[in-house]
């Protein structure tokens, strides 16, 4: 980490100060970014932006989790749907969430709902796909054993199929979370009055490239923190239970 910072500063010194091939507003130094972060922190811009963005992210993401798992379960349940919809869902997942922006603006106008829609639509299909492949990869012997033990219908889903597909499902939830961030940024950069994406764009408009990088650093930091605190814990827990850590 420290080494990366030193390299960054060195590149800045050589390219901007010494060779003068880049203008200072093309490429910020880590010190500038630090100063900019501190400034954003002092006037509370950063804290507000983080809270607003996280709120949107959590709402949108929760919607996509519910919707994605529900869609996945439904499609997996009916053979006809599995055969006909799987490739369509895969296609929809490759579509970047920003492509939905025109719809979002058309349906909701440039407001909170539009951003949440973008977040949700960006991550839903990733979660649907993971649910699908999770269910398809359940070892059939678990389902047969479950049947002889009396797990049928809804109980078979709740007590066998969903827990058995968790290792794959959790990977999909993680991927969905990453897609949710992309949706959030797409939405906030274009139509928000507050939030991290808006602070980033404000940096661009007012010529503060160090502010842009500062926001990027914050996003990376938040992403890593949440991954460590939430997903990695759940994943490690499941891997331990299943004994997947031993090879």
């Amino acid at each position: 980490m420290l080494i990366l910072l030193i390299i960054w500063q060195t590149v800045f010194e050589i390219a901007v100060n010494y060779l003068k091939i880049w203008k200072p507003f093309y490429f910020p130094s880590p010190l500038d970014v630090g100063a900019s972060l501190y400034q954003l922190f002092l006037d509370n811009t950063l804290q507000i932006a983080i809270l607003v963005s996280l709120k949107r992210l959590v709402i949108g993401y929760l919607i996509s989790v519910v919707l994605g798992i529900f869609l996945g379960l439904t499609i997996a349940r009916f053979k006809y749907l599995t055969e006909n919809l799987s490739s369509m869902i895969l296609g929809l997942q490759t579509l970047p969430s920003i492509c939905w922006l025109p719809f979002a603006l058309l349906w909701y106008g440039p407001n909170e709902s539009a951003i949440i829609f973008l977040i949700a639509i960006g991550s839903t299909f990733a979660i649907t796909l993971a649910t699908l492949s999770g269910i398809q990869n359940v070892n059939p012997i678990f389902i047969r054993a479950g049947k002889t033990l009396g797990a049928k219908g809804f109980r078979a889903y709740k007590d066998i199929i969903i827990p058995a597909s968790l290792p794959i499902l959790i990977a999909g939830l993680k991927q969905g979370w990453a897609f949710a961030w992309r949706g959030l940024m797409a939405g906030e950069m274009i139509s928000a009055t507050r939030g991290l994406g808006q602070v980033l764009m404000a940096g661009r408009e007012w010529g503060g490239i160090s502010q842009v990088v500062a926001v990027m650093v914050v996003i990376i930091f938040l992403g890593l923190t949440i991954d460590k605190l939430v997903f990695s814990n759940i994943e490690a827990n499941i891997r331990f239970r299943w004994g997947l850590n031993k090879t």
Binding site: A145, T148, A151, P163, A164, R241, G243
Partner: protein
Amino acid sequence: MKRILAIEQLSKNFISWKQTTTTLQDINIEIKDGEFICLVGPSGCGKSTLLNIIAGLEKPSAGGVFLNGNPLKEAGPDRAAVMFQESALFPWLNVLENVEFGMKMAGIPAEERQNRAIKYLKLVQLSRFSTVPIHTLSGGMRQRVALARALAMDSRLLLMDEPFSALDSQTKEILQLQLQQIWWETKKTIIFVTHDVEEAVLLGDRVIVMAANPGRIKKDIKIHLGRPRQAKSLDVTYVVEEVKKELREEVERVAKAEYDSDWSIEKISFLANSSDYMADGI
């Protein structure tokens, strides 16, 4: 003893593209309460399919299975407890939760099912490991947990599909002894599928020899040996040879289909038969 299970004129066909395969043809078996039945046969004779039909996991094409005189519909706890070849334990649950699973599905209150689960874990000598995750157990321990889970279902009928075939021979012997003892104590009716004749003779009151293409019953042999039986003891070995004679022709017939047409088992007997040379050098 009263009859618990009757299989009547049961057949099973698999229909694939342009071709119908008869896996089971006209199977008739009657099983008395508390009997230990072993099904042996070459691979492909449909013994596992038969077990699955008895369990209700597959449907017969014709004929039926009657438990206490009633035709059976779906798989479930009121039908039979099943133990599979590979451990079908749920890796997301610990040992105790696995044993409790069937009782949980049946809606038995938490405290009662825990007591009962511990009782069955004690029966298979695993109560020390009740809170352990499944993956930390050895193969033999897993099959014992699976046995406890099946026993905890409290059904009269216990179906076992080659439960010990993946275990090493020492573990297998211990488990065979333990199973005999548990069967003795619980008086369950057991149908045990295996390809191992020794195992069948060791465990069964009756050994049903099956033949392949189409799968059918070749011979129903009563084993009149005292218990507990020890693997490789003289009387067991003698009966094993008798049953193997029944099977040999059948196994060879199946094997022939997998070799070139001029193959026969005599041709590969290149080693001298030791009994022919017993008195050599005296």
